[in-house]
Amino acid sequence: MADLQKIKDAIMSGKREEVTSLVQAGIDAGDNAVEILEGGMIPAMREIGDKFSRNEVYVPQMLIAARAMQAGLALIEPALVSSGHQPLGKVCIGTVKGDLHDIGKNLVAIMLKGAGYQVIDLGVNCDVNKYDEGIKQGATIIACSALLTTTMPYMKEVVEHFKDTDVKIIIGGAPVTQNYADQIGAHGYSDDANGAVKLVDVLFKKSA
């Protein structure tokens, strides 16, 4: 059996090559891909996310951890697909109409993937039709990002557009606040990527 603790440690310190060789060793030994994913990889990303929230690591450390995880994931993906392994849920994410900033949006996407969710990345400059496409692909939660004070009000239009549906909208970005989320009737707000994962966890649990 692959050493799950070692895989976890290697992901958290961003050691891509070490992750690759440890995961490959596991595959060669006939280990269960789901166990590698759920016992080593996802816990690593959850823990690095918690460290991020506690200001113990920052964006660069999160990014290299995610890159290391992706390297391992690529190796076990075929086995996951053939075993019928399902993600925890589907989330679509996009920066709102008029806004081309994507660093924050990408971070949230990375952390959601790392936590075991399937993420449909709609990119930047998303209008309601684009978010609709994400929902058509099976997402039940929409994550909206905005960096600009002038694009932030579009979040209200997104909330309005989906208000008579079961779709949940969560929002975030530099100018966005919990106050604003309450004002426009969004289902949640987070001020960092790890918080967004926690928010999605809660929303999926509620809908289950």
């Binding site: 961003g14 200001n55 690591v57 920052y58 964006v59 660069p60 450390q61 990014l63 290299i64 890159r67 008029g98 081309l100 900033h101 660093i103 990408n106 600009l148 004070t149 002038t150 932030m152 530099a174 100018p175 606040t177 106050n179 604003y180 001020d191 960092d192």
Partner: protein
């Protein structure tokens, strides 16, 4: 003391007779002219006109000549996406991929990109406003590095540290060129704006940013300029290491508690500025919330080594009256007192309004003057005196009453009439004169017209 000296003294950490007010007015000035951010940032004439309008309205002690962190990036060949109501965004990065290396980039000079236009703005503003501190804003080394290389820089900080050091040295050298241009053409303060440092922690800040920033800030000092380091976002963890880069001042936004920054800066001998809330207060709030927020900042910042300013570039569509309200609080003790009353009314249990349904009488004109206290506030005194003097012409048909917001009754009346400025004169519940004292004729005309309407009925 003139405004410029006030700013320079505060930046140098000195006690000032009042806290200087520096509204970071970038593309917001375009909205004052009714033009787009793109038109504004591409035209020296529009920038000069917009800044003059902002100076006339907001009475700043200091003002940035430009707030566009894409200026250098554009000159280096980054692709820009222009916006109607925001500064442009960088959409392509020349150093991303293998094609271009640092050595291939043409060093910036006075003739690159929109720099000639900025020089014209500085020179003109300098001549027009010798007594206001002009801020030359330049892109900080880490943010410029990110513009040039893209987000790959975060990976390279682990994969190729030497390359990142070289890039940041290059960006700091660029900062020196921009600082020289700003100072030689008339700016007093160089503000190095480096928001992307909020994405890294103190260890990486020290590893990659401290040294290039020190070289840049030492250079600004050698050239005789004052300096400030602007950050925005969640940069609280970096305030201590930011204080060690030899800058004179640190300016922050609402994501960092001002008292936290004050305590660290004072310990490190660095002055500080900030941090009015950009969206909830300035963009979405009203005059009263802006006054209260300005007062909160002043109460924390004090009058030694502190500059009151918005947390960052003022959003395009902020209502001008909100900025005027904030500036007035910085510059007038009476306004501070009014803000204090507003704050206590806002904090306390909701003020119960008077029932004014039957307030208006058929044969009398009721004049209500809302004041701080006509004994202690000169404009209030003149407004009450003018109202009483003119009212005498009309005998018992006009009744004048003063309501001091220092009293519970005054606050209730202020809220009941929907007044948010002091002094304000209302006639039969209607707000007629705000802040400025009307001449006797204007006042008499207004009273006469209202009486005429009444008697007609």
């Amino acid at each position: 003391m003139n405004s410029k000296q006030l700013v320079l003294d505060a930046i140098s950490g000195k006690k000032t007779e009042r806290t200087p007010w520096v509204p970071f007015c970038g593309v917001h000035a375009a909205s004052l002219l009714g033009v787009s951010a793109e038109e504004y940032l591409k035209s020296a004439d529009l920038m000069i006109a917009g800044l003059n309008k902002a100076i006339a309205l907001y009475k700043p002690d200091g003002i940035p000549v430009i707030f566009d962190l894409q200026l250098e990036a554009e000159a280096f060949g980054c692709g820009l996406h222009w916006n109607m109501d925001n500064p442009p965004s960088v959409v392509s990065h020349p150093l991303a991929g293998e094609k271009t290396r640092i050595d291939d980039l043409t060093r910036l000079s006075e003739t690159a990109g929109r720099i000639p236009q900025v020089i014209k703005v500085i020179q003109t503003l300098r001549k027009q406003h010798p007594d206001i501190a002009l801020y030359g804003l330049i892109t900080g080394p880490f943010t410029l590095a990110l513009h040039l290389l893209g987000t790959d820089i975060f990976m390279q900080m682990f994969d190729d540290t030497d390359a990142v050091h070289r890039l940041l040295d290059f960006c700091a050298e660029t900062g020196k060129v921009m600082s020289r241009i700003m100072l030689e053409n008339g700016c007093d303060v160089v503000a190095v704006v480096d928001p992307m440092t909020s994405q890294i922690g103190p260890d990486q800040f020290e590893e990659f940013c401290t040294d290039p920033m020190r070289k840049l800030f030492d250079y600004i000092c050698e050239k005789g300029g004052k300096s400030s380091l602007f950050v925005c976002g969640h940069a609280q963890k970096n305030i201590e290491v930011m204080c060690d880069v030899h800058c004179d001042n640190i300016s922050i936004d609402e994501n960092i508690p001002l008292d936290y920054v004050r305590d660290i800066c004072r310990e490190k001998g660095v002055s500080f500025g900030g941090n009015m809330q950009l969206t909830v207060v300035m963009l979405l709030g009203d005059e009263a919330t802006n006054k209260i927020n300005a007062l909160e900042c002043l109460d924390i910042g004090g009058d030694t080594g502190f500059i009151l300013s918005p947390g960052c570039d003022i959003p395009f569509a902020v209502p001008p009256e909100n900025i005027i309200a904030a500036g007035a609080v910085a510059q007038s003790r009476d306004e501070q007192e009014i803000a204090r009353q507003l704050a206590s009314a806002a904090r306390g249990p909701e003020v119960e309004k008077f029932d004014l349904v039957d307030y208006v009488e058929a044969d009398k004109l009721k004049i209500d003057v809302i004041t701080l206290d006509s004994l202690g506030c000169a404009p209030c005194q003149y407004m009450v005196a003018a109202a009483e003097q003119v009212a005498r012409e009309f005998g018992p048909k006009v009744v004048v009453r003063e309501h001091k917001v220092k009293t519970a009754e005054g606050i209730r009346m202020m809220v009941s009439l929907g007044v948010s400025n002091v002094p304000t004169l209302c006639m039969d519940k209607e707000i007629v004169f705000v802040s400025s004292i009307p001449g006797n004729k204007a006042l008499a005309d207004a009273m006469r017209e209202r009486l005429r309407q009444k008697l007609k009925k």
